[in-house]
């Protein structure tokens, strides 16, 4: 059997390839991006003719995957946790339609918000949709669970959610592979109305889903992933989920853990499994990476007469990523370290690269905005969000992808005129287009600056689906061509660019300025993508 050094993301990707997927879809987002990148680069995936596409956003990714599942083949859709918010509509409804070909949705959470706006826990979505959730605790289990996930997806006709966190996604370890499986043949759903969620049909599908719950629980009790590790000291029992198990065991490397452990990596959990465990111990500690989901369920409104320790009573911190030291403290262990602090230890926050095109866009915008009071520039998510920091201090918001255009419209509607939006090319495609249509429909006095570096830079230089099409998309939305401007953000054009900004800011309607210059870090990638696009153009 082959053994490879794989990151959690790569283990999931390799498993999907070996489990015989036909297609994978994603919108990039740290820490999930490397799953799809791995499939795109894999020779084996090429030989198996696996489709591995970047989608416009997470919603289109999940919908496309549902289409693959409809046609009877195995498929995966990947995203970061906040991407599942964008995909929530197809995700929730796919629980009702159920799957035909096996379908796994991977959502990568980011506790401690290393590179995210929040630390929401995707397990809530699994519970919300009432589908099985897999939460592997290490790279090998991630690999094995993808195989298992596809099997149960097809066995029960249900999508499956896999939840990982940053640490597993981006940590590498040796992973033993299984024999690759053949992809499924094209196979229509047995009932051609399975995916028609007309109310009368949806009600039937929903009762089917409710009926499956007992099977899902039985599956999690018997699959062997959730397991009891018994021990003699029953004064405490520990329920530990996902990767948190590693942090717990790290503290007991050379000694046996004295208390029984119930290790959870699959949901929904069987009530009996929890009850039997809790009945066998005096007190319970619940350790979860992310939100205290199991802990809240255990506590309930009334409690159940036993003390529950965890994130809700202060035994563990309420927010942020866990680590071995936090668990050592929870068990009252000492750990020695040098305990040195240096008062001169300056932080080194990320900055726009020297020579970045966004720098010239912001310098020009700042100068044009001097005529107006501060606080008018709504922005979005990408490298250009660093414009919020000194020396630029150019932008005043970053909420969710696409929100810059719609927030600017809202601010303008409220009387803040002119209002400005700064948005990246990929973010514009992801969810800026609909906001632009809102603005155009009412000719709202909003000036939209699209900082087009021709790539998805923030997440490592993936292909931007806007490439070569931005102007026609914008005009196709109905913008007055007189108010579409294209500038080259460079020092030598600074003066002209400032004048263009001033002119459009003074216009009492919707205008778009595209500032186009390549990301200097991704020049080679951009060249490659352009060639790919030319080949696609020829087939049109």
């Amino acid at each position: 059997m082959r053994k490879l050094p794989l990151m959690g993301d790569e283990a999931i990707a390799q498993a999907a390839i070996d489990a015989g997927i036909s297609a994978i879809y994603a919108y990039p987002g740290t820490p999930s991006t490397e799953i799809t990148e791995y499939v795109q680069k894999s020779k084996q995936a090429k030989e198996q003719k696996i489709v591995a596409h970047w989608s416009a956003n997470e919603k289109t990714a999940v919908e496309t995957a549902i289409g693959v599942s409809y046609a009877g083949k195995r498929t995966m859709a990947c995203m970061k946790h906040v991407g599942l918010n964008v995909a929530a509509d197809p995700f929730m409804n796919s629980a009702i339609t159920g799957a035909n070909g096996g379908m796994i949705i991977v959502s990568a959470d980011d506790p401690s918000m290393h590179s995210s706006q929040n630390e929401q826990d995707s397990r809530f979505y699994g519970k919300f949709a009432m589908i099985p959730v897999l939460e592997p605790h290490d790279q090998q289990e991630a690999y094995d669970m993808v195989h298992y996930g596809f099997d149960i997806s097809e066995k029960y006709g249900t999508p499956v959610l896999m939840r990982i966190t940053t640490r597993l996604a981006h940590s590498r370890a040796g992973v033993t592979l299984q024999e690759p499986k053949q992809p499924n043949e094209l196979k229509m759903p047995g009932d051609l109305r399975q995916f028609v969620l007309l109310p009368a049909l949806a009600r039937n599908r929903y009762s089917l889903l409710l009926g499956k719950q007992e099977y899902f629980k039985k599956e999690s009790a018997e699959s062997g992933f959730n397991k009891l590790i018994d021990a003699h000291d029953k004064s405490l029992g520990v329920i530990v989920s996902g990767i948190a198990y590693n942090y717990l065991m790290e503290n007991f490397q050379d000694k046996n853990f004295p208390h029984p452990i119930l290790r959870i990596t699959q949901y929904p959990i069987s009530e009996k499994m929890i009850q039997d465990f809790v009945n066998s111990v005096d007190e319970v500690m619940v350790i979860e990476e992310g939100s205290p989901i199991i802990e809240e369920q255990l506590r309930g409104f009334m409690g159940f007469g036993k003390n529950v320790k965890g994130r809700l009573d202060g035994t563990l911190p309420r927010q942020g990523e866990l680590n071995p030291n936090i668990l050592a403290e929870a068990f009252g262990f000492d750990y020695e370290h040098t305990n040195k602090t240096y008062d001169f230890l300056a932080t080194r926050p990320p900055q726009l690269c020297p020579g970045c095109p966004h720098i010239d866009s912001y310098t020009a915008l700042n100068e044009a905005m001097q005529e107006y009071s501060k606080g008018r520039v709504m922005s979005d998510i990408g490298c250009y969000t660093l414009g919020a920091l000194p020396p630029f201090n150019s932008i005043n918001s970053c909420v969710d992808m696409g929100a810059s255009i719609t927030m600017a419209k809202g601010a303008a509607d409220a009387g803040l005129v002119p209002a400005v939006s700064v948005i990246g090319d990929s973010t514009f495609i992801h969810s800026g287009i609909t906001g632009l249509i809102d603005c155009i429909a009412h000719n709202s006095p909003v000036t939209i600056l699209i900082v087009d570096n021709e790539v998805v830079a923030m997440t490592g230089g993936q292909k931007s689906l806007s490439m070569g099409r931005l102007e026609s998309i914008i005009l196709g939305c109905g913008l007055n061509p007189l108010h579409l401007q294209i500038i080259d953000p460079r020092k030598k054009y600074h003066k002209e660019n400032v004048e263009i900004f001033k002119k459009e800011l003074a216009y009492m309607g919707t205008s778009v300025i595209i500032a186009r210059r390549e990301c200097i870090v991704a020049l080679d990638a951009i060249k490659k993508y352009k060639t790919e696009n030319e080949i696609i153009e020829e087939t049109k």
């Binding site: 050094p5 990151m7 740290t30 820490p31 991006t33 490397e34 290393h114 590179s115 640490r167 597993l168 981006h170 940590s171 590498r172 370890a173 040796g174 990767i243 198990y245 590693n246 942090y247 065991m249 790290e250 503290n251 490397q253 050379d254 680590n323 071995p324 030291n325 050592a328 750990y335 020695e336 370290h337 040098t338 305990n339 040195k340 240096y342 001169f344 230890l345 300056a346 932080t347 080194r348 926050p349 990320p350 900055q351 726009l352 690269c353 970045c356 490298c383 660093l386 830079a457 923030m458 997440t459 490592g460 230089g461 990301c519 870090v521 991704a522």
Partner: protein
């Protein structure tokens, strides 16, 4: 290698600034660990493309299965830092007799970069530390970009992995880039090895 029943472990923190070759150091140790048939876990910091932010990688090696992807505070055996200030950021991860191998040359992209003497002194005050002018050593061998391999060469005495395996790993990692790149990196590794003094 080590006696199977005796526990062998090395916890290594590799630090520096984005673009300084932290990932290459980790990859070389990774390939060597595979050849040595040891368990490993390597946690990288990914996701930011911009150059210039601080980056770190936790590399754990053992002859027994490893649980945590993160090194606990107070457990690291070695910090290899391609930048002096970045070495100090992780000192609390170091165990009492742990080693710091740090590049002498600052990556000065912040306005409040501290007084360099202070930084060097703080490193030198640690029980086991070496400050190496890795940029200059690499330049003398023809590639200032390979300062990272100089530092890895210095640290090679502390890794508990056969030196030859590190050389093999460089061949595997840089092989595709051509013989010249492989040679320079191996020369830098060799030079680093000579610079270690206890």
């Amino acid at each position: 290698m080590e006696n199977a029943s005796k526990k062998f472990k090395k916890d290594i923190i590799i630090s520096g600034v984005g673009g300084q070759g932290i990932v290459s150091i980790a990859s070389v140790i990774g390939f060597a660990t595979l050849e040595a048939k040891l368990f490993f876990k390597q946690s990288e910091v990914h996701g930011m493309s911009q150059r210039g932010g601080d980056v770190q990688s936790h590399f754990r090696i053992s002859n027994k299965p490893i649980y945590s992807d993160l090194i606990p505070m107070g457990a690291a055996d070695i910090i290899i830092s391609v930048e002096p200030l970045e070495a100090l950021r992780y000192v609390n991860y170091l165990q009492k007799d742990g080693w710091v191998i740090a590049n002498k040359n600052p990556f000065n992209n912040i306005s409040n970069y501290p007084d360099l003497e202070k930084v060097w002194n703080a490193i030198e005050e640690l029980p086991n530390s070496l400050i190496i002018d890795a940029d200059e050593e690499a330049r003398k061998l023809g590639s200032s970009k390979s300062a990272n391999m100089i530092l890895l060469g210095v640290a090679s005495h502390l890794l508990g992995i056969e030196y030859q395996m590190l050389e093999n790993a460089i061949r595997t990692l840089f092989g595709r880039k051509g013989e010249k790149i492989v040679d320079i990196n191996i020369q830098c590794l060799n030079r680093g090895k000579e610079l270690f003094v206890k």
